[in-house]
Amino acid sequence: MHSLSRRILPWLDQRCGAGALEEFLRRKTVPIHRHSLWYYFGGMTLFLFVVQVLTGILLLLYYQPTPEDAFESVQYIVTQVRFGWLIRSVHSWSANLLVFTAFVHMFSVYFLKAYRKPRELTWISGMLLFFVVLGFGFSGYLLPWNTLAFFATKVGTEMAGAVPFVGKWFLIFLRGGEEVTGATLTRFFGFHVAVLPGLATVLLAMHLLLVQHLGMSLPPSLERAIAEGRQPARSMPFFPNFLLRDIMGWYAALGVLGALAAVFPWELGTKADPFAAAPAGIRPEWYFLFMFQTLKLLPAKVFFLEGEFAGLLGFSLAAAVWVAVPFLDYRAGFGRVTRFFTGLGVFALGFILVMSALALR
């Protein structure tokens, strides 16, 4: 085994410079400190994304994206196809865990100020990836063509229609017409299996290259302590030490996914009927709950604006501030922690948690 790798590596090195990769892996280290735990969430999100790609490809073998057949084909997958229930449930559960780990990753990066100079582009590519993940969630939710998904899509796309000037076109572009119909399903399927995977691949490559190029970020307080010689800089090699820990986490995640899928199989619900009333107790996926609850609480008029538009405007502004935070909080680049931005993060997290809890009441 050893002699084989000793022969293969030079062969590859002469042809594609694989030695550089080996050299890189040997040099890459991961800092050790009391916040090191948070370093695992990016890798965990990546792992769950790979699970999504693989189970998604398996689902494509049987899924049929038409309003007549979509619901029945998913029903066929979970009842007839051997282990279809497992594949479909793992895909749904993994999607939800992925959104969760992405949230954790994002907030940990935020609170540890890892977005600060020179990692602005890493933050922005990460935020774009986050939006792509939400897009995956929103488009994938419709594909089984069940009642909940049908109305969630109606509401979600209607919100897009509230954008000034281009809203109407945007709504028609998303729905493939004025209403949510089979045309919408066809489009969402295309977004889910072609457009978003393409975008995600490019953004992910950028994100990972930037992370490798810049190395792991240290929390500002620790960076200062090390610079002033108050604390030694401790680290472990990425390969194999950190990677093996990563893999242990991924292995555990696979176990958790299998257990969740087996014990709590993902429900399919009832087939969508475009001419039935929205059922009571309807609500979107948990990661959209805070927006859902906000929309529910907003009155018809906020000052001179329509409630839904005011909500959309508020969320858009908040998202813009969030994406631009490395530039707004540029002082963090000089190692200065601004309380305001920490407070903003606490407020955002608190708002999301409280609104989601209210929606679940």
């Binding site: 076109w169 039935a276 929205a278 929309l295 839904e308």
Partner: protein
């Protein structure tokens, strides 16, 4: 940021400037001609909706007093309500807030949207929750056994 021009003398010649302008305009115009069809392609053609002005929403005996029914009116859902006072009323069932389909709540004797808890009274007026506008009203006629719903003139 400083932009260095590799050949300052070359660009100042009027002939070269014209060539650059023409080339630039040509390239931009050609790119626009590639993008325009793609954008038009993305927006589906408007389907001439068969202008259904009236539809048989239900049979008279089908609905109890104090109950409602969602029916198909053209390409959109509509709501027929038989009130407790034995009156038929019809509305668009599309919530004016975010496009969900409303329903008649027998316990409240009002029209309710399950998505964001919007309420309308039995004239279609938005009375509580987020809906910004009333529901569109339709005319109801009884023709023999049929409850016929018509779009207002």
């Amino acid at each position: 940021m400083e932009i260095r021009n590799p050949s300052p003398a070359g660009n100042s010649r009027p002939g070269r400037r014209w060539v650059n302008l023409l080339l630039g305009t040509g390239v931009v115009a050609s790119i626009a001609s590639f993008i325009y069809p793609a954008i038009r392609y993305m927006l589906p053609p408007v389907v001439g909706e068969p202008l259904s002005r009236s539809v048989v929403a239900a049979k008279v005996g089908e609905l109890r007093r104090n109950s409602g029914k969602v029916f198909k009116f053209g390409s959109k859902p509509a709501l027929l309500v038989r009130t407790a006072d034995d009156e038929f009323r019809a509305f668009s069932a599309v919530c004016t807030h975010l496009n969900c389909t409303v329903q008649y709540r027998e316990d409240l004797r009002q029209i309710w949207c399950a998505c964001h808890n919007g309420l309308y009274d039995l004239t279609g007026r938005n009375i509580s929750g987020p809906p910004p506008r009333p529901l569109e009203n339709f005319q109801v006629h009884i023709q023999g056994e049929d409850v016929v719903v018509r779009r207002g003139a």
